[in-house]
């Protein structure tokens, strides 16, 4: 499932699209990192 499609190979004009891509990738990266952090921590034991 592609999130963003950009036509390249022409001079200038694509800066904005790449800003969107970079924001999407870095936010995805944060999500992945946060997910891995959570899975590392042992789940708190349930209290009786």
């Amino acid at each position: 499932r592609s999130r963003i499609l950009v036509s390249i190979g022409e001079s200038f004009g694509t800066s904005e699209k790449f800003q969107k891509i970079n924001q999407m990738v870095s936010s995805g990266d944060r999500l992945l990192k946060r997910g891995s952090e959570v899975s590392n921590h042992p789940k708190p034991l349930k209290r009786l």
Binding site: R1, S2, R3, I4, L5, V6, S7, I8, G9, E10, S11, F12, I21, M24, V25, S27, G28, D29, L31, L32
Partner: protein, 100 residues
Amino acid sequence: DHQVLVKDNSDLKEAEKQLDDLIQMSTIQLKLLTEDSENQHFAYVSCQDLRSVMDPKQQMLMVMKAPPETQLQVSDPAEAFQIKLKSTRGAIDVFLCPED
């Protein structure tokens, strides 16, 4: 108030039209500039230039040169950090910027 608003909108309409003309003129100028063969001969960056914008100690830098209308597709990072390049008008060249 009504008269002032009518005047303001008329001024804004004129200003917007001026901007449209300037944008069109500048777009054509930039196209002519980048397509001029003499300029194309001197329109390049060196490896040093590329290293000056990225810290080569920390970052790996790939340079991609593709024919016009090449499709670059970035997948959903929740699935994978993936970039797909697909050209229909010629080969794509990818270079790694050397550290030194």
